[in-house]
């Protein structure tokens, strides 16, 4: 075991910035020269990934306990607050870097095909490169302010990319909404930083996490406040209740952007932040239960909304919100590695799903484009039966669906199962009741996940094609530059879960096949051990069985069984429903049709179980999502503008008014001193 010294660490961060500079210049000087961004955009990412991979392999061979921190220059050097422009490489940031550059490269490659006809091609790659740069700053920065730099930077890029097609006013509005909602989260982040600084006098990770256990009492008010404010920041960036509203709207941007930013990387920044601050969260049990509770609530809530959407990207958007909820359950209950594990597998399969949906939309768009039909290429009611035309997309997306639904041996099975199990296992200590509830909610949300994903797949790829006679002829598989990334991600979605097979599963006869054991846990051990130690010292031992009985192995098998069952049921139920194109009277389903229908049982099931749930979720979506939360966000904006308007009316233009204001001011100040 030798001393670990990373290779060209700074270059990983710098390369995307160089790409941004080149592509940005191209966008302004020669936007028609698409060859430059085509090469530069993916190449810088690929190179960064190779460097990251080198470091990863070397890190595997080394035994790195302490994080490696390299300071480039003294950023804020004055007084007792010494913050360097420093990068911190440890197991967690290494993993994140691998995900960002790896998935990022694939998405860049995909974008070459997806965006090739767009006038803003170079601009697109410039933004995308800049995004990756900021994302890397976010995960590699060695202090909270640097994380904040990345945090704000990715927000800005997200904003730019959502509003990328700015000619459409709705898109620009969505971008603005994303930015404003994120500001609320940022408020939490900054306040948390201020509190950390005022209590510890530093903001560098190494020093903060070293000093925190001694400086804060377990469960004390200050640490609880700090972690709750941090979590407020996380809810903004990671789209949790109540700040999730921007993410579904963010789907207005190009689909690869949704894949990279709004699924695989940026939205997981909140999860990363909590995992990074695991020591702080472990000290604040109240915050932990809040994190897990909000995560569970979001997971369930978003999943129900996902049931009712017709826009393929909206389904995936709510699904992302829901899956992020799972990650928060993981990091909330204290199973930080489990949360990060799900973050990783989710990056694979959700990026795949989004890219797949991008491929579908691309194909639909082309088809409609040929015949000048103005149908919505994203509405699943206009799809159906696409498996014949797009076999690769079809196959890869099914892999991802099985993964997200939690079917063995796909990646999501291991990560999601672990989170659910950890929620059960952590149902000890003072908040045991809450954790039990969270566990139950997580299970329920898993059922819904399997259902809405199957619904989406069936509506898109199975049954009769609803695109139209003429258009059908123009439907075809996407070019290799787009399906190859899909294939790579599909492979990752299959094998990605095997890096962390829990003992309970590994010991099972079939499910534990290829026992790779808990590699990720061990890999992240240097990061999480401090938090684990704090929790172990203050909480009773973890539960051996789930709240209603059953061991880890039992529930692993059970959840696998449930997932498969739900998928089978859902495919039959949804497959039996006759969807019609969005423009042609979508809703009415007469009672008579039930009797004539071959799948009588399914229809009953549909009417009694599915329809109420879908209807309720639709109502929920209308009322809570569109009405309440949207209304609150907009209301805040309106209120501040109204106040501003009142204030501006005081500015009458009359000098006497101004003089009077001065006199009043003098009076107030004098009064303050005189009394």
């Amino acid at each position: 075991m030798h001393h670990f010294e990373p290779t060209l660490l700074g270059l990983i961060v710098l390369l995307p910035l160089v790409g941004f500079a080149i592509n940005g210049l191209t966008a302004f000087l020669a936007p028609e020269r698409k060859a430059i961004p085509t090469v530069v955009g993916p190449a810088v990412l690929g190179l960064a990934f190779l460097i990251a991979l080198t470091n990863f392999l070397r890190m595997l061979g080394a035994e790195l306990h302490e994080p490696y921190v390299h300071s480039y220059w003294s950023w804020m050097p004055v007084g007792n607050l010494q913050i360097d422009a420093a990068l911190q490489l440890d197991q967690l940031s290494m993993l994140m870097t691998m995900i960002i550059t790896g998935v990022g490269t694939l998405i860049h490659v995909f974008s070459v095909g997806y965006m090739k006809a767009d006038a803003g091609y170079a601009r697109y790659f410039a933004y995308l490169n800049l995004f990756v740069f900021f994302m890397l700053v976010l995960v590699l920065g060695a202090s909270f302010p640097l994380m904040f730099v990345g945090w704000e930077g990715v927000g800005l890029c997200s904003y730019l990319l959502i509003g990328f097609w700015f000619k459409d006013r709705k898109n620009a509005d969505a971008g603005k909404k994303a930015f404003i909602v994120n500001r609320i989260g940022d408020f939490g982040f900054i306040v948390a930083m201020m509190l950390i600084f005022s209590n510890l006098g530093t903001l560098n990770y190494v020093e903060v996490f070293e000093a925190a256990p001694a400086a804060f009492a377990y469960g004390g008010g200050v640490i609880t406040a700090i972690t709750l404010f941090l979590f407020l920041g996380a809810t903004g960036k990671s789209a949790q209740i109540p700040l999730y509203v921007w993410l579904p709207d963010a789907m207005a941007g190009p689909t690869p952007v949704s894949a990279l930013i709004h699924a695989a990387t940026m939205v997981t920044a909140g999860v990363y932040m909590i995992a990074r601050s695991s020591v702080l969260f472990a000290l604040a049990p109240v915050s932990q239960v809040v994190v897990a509770g909000v995560g569970a609530l979001t997971a369930l809530f978003a999943a129900t909304i996902g049931l009712a959407q017709y826009d393929i990207k909206k389904v995936l958007a709510y699904s992302t919100v829901s899956q992020l909820g799972y990650m928060f359950i993981g990091v909330g209950v204290g199973a930080f590695a489990a949360g990060v594990f799900h973050l990783m597998t989710h990056a694979f399969f959700k990026a795949l799903l989004f890219l797949g949906s991008g491929a579908v939309i691309h194909a639909m768009h082309e088809a409609f484009h040929h015949t000048h039909k103005d149908w919505d290429p994203q509405d699943m009611r206009n799809m159906g039966g696409l498996r014949k035309y797009m076999p690769i997309t079809f196959a890869t997306m099914w892999i991802a669906t099985l993964a997200i639904a939690g079917v063995w041996p796909f990646a999501g099975f291991f990560s999601k199962d672990e989170i659910i199990w950890q929620a059960a296992a952590h149902a000890v200590g003072p908040y045991a009741g809450w954790y039990k509830l969270i566990w139950a909610v997580a299970l329920l949300a898993a059922v819904l996940t399997a259902f809405y994903m199957t619904r989406m797949m069936v509506m898109t790829f199975h049954g009769e094609n609803r695109t139209g006679e003429e258009e059908r002829k123009h439907l075809h598989e996407v070019p290799a530059v787009m399906w190859v990334p899909l294939a790579v991600l599909a492979v990752l979605s299959v094998v990605g879960g095997w890096v962390n097979v829990p003992h309970a599963v590994a010991d099972l006869p079939v499910l534990g096949w290829i026992p790779t054991s808990e590699w990720l846990h061990e890999w992240l051990h240097p990061i999480t051990e401090h938090a684990d130690a704090i929790m172990a010292a203050n909480l009773p031992a973890l539960a051996e069985t789930a709240p209603i009985g059953g061991s880890a192995a039992f529930w692993a098998i059970a959840s696998f069984g449930i997932a498969v069952a739900v998928i089978l049921v859902a495919s039959r139920v949804v497959g039996s429903r006759a969807y019609r194109p969005a423009t042609e009277a979508p809703e009415p389903v007469g009672l008579a049709r039930l009797l004539y229908n071959k799948w009588y049982i399914d229809e009953i099931y549909d009417a009694v179980v599915v329809r109420p749930i879908v209807g309720a979720s639709k109502a929920l979506w209308r009322f809570v999502d569109q009405g309440l939360i949207d209304g609150t966000v907009n209301g805040l904006g309106h209120a501040s503008r109204a106040l501003g308007w009142v204030g501006s009316r005081l500015q009458t233009g009359q000098l006497n008014t101004y003089a009077f204001a001065v006199a009043i001011g003098v009076l107030i100040l004098l009064g303050f001193v005189a009394f």
Partner: protein
């Protein structure tokens, strides 16, 4: 006499403030400001009896400042009068809100 003079200064100053708040004629407003400056001068002179000669030196400076302000202020009044043929402040609300 000294304290009384200070009180007188305060009275004159306050009357000046009142004038600035309630009058709308730019020139009268300006006169009220001159009144305020004079009130301060009175305070300086009165205080100089207790503190030392500098108080009177300050009056000298204040007068110079008042003269400079008067020159520029009246020039401004003239220049706005050219535009609007009035010095009533209620007419000056091109700029507001």
């Amino acid at each position: 006499m000294l304290t009384n003079s200070l009180v007188l200064a305060a009275i004159l100053f306050s009357i000046g403030v009142l004038g600035v708040v309630v009058r709308r004629n730019a020139i009268i407003l300006f006169l009220c400001i001159e009144l305020m400056l004079n009130a301060v001068n009175l305070a300086f002179v009165a205080l100089s009896r207790a503190v030392g000669i500098e108080g009177q030196v300050f009056v000298f400076f204040v007068m110079a400042v008042a003269a400079a302000e008067a020159a520029v202020g009246l020039a401004i009044v003239i220049s706005i009068f050219r535009h609007s043929e009035t010095v009533d402040l209620k007419n000056f609300n091109l700029l507001r809100w």
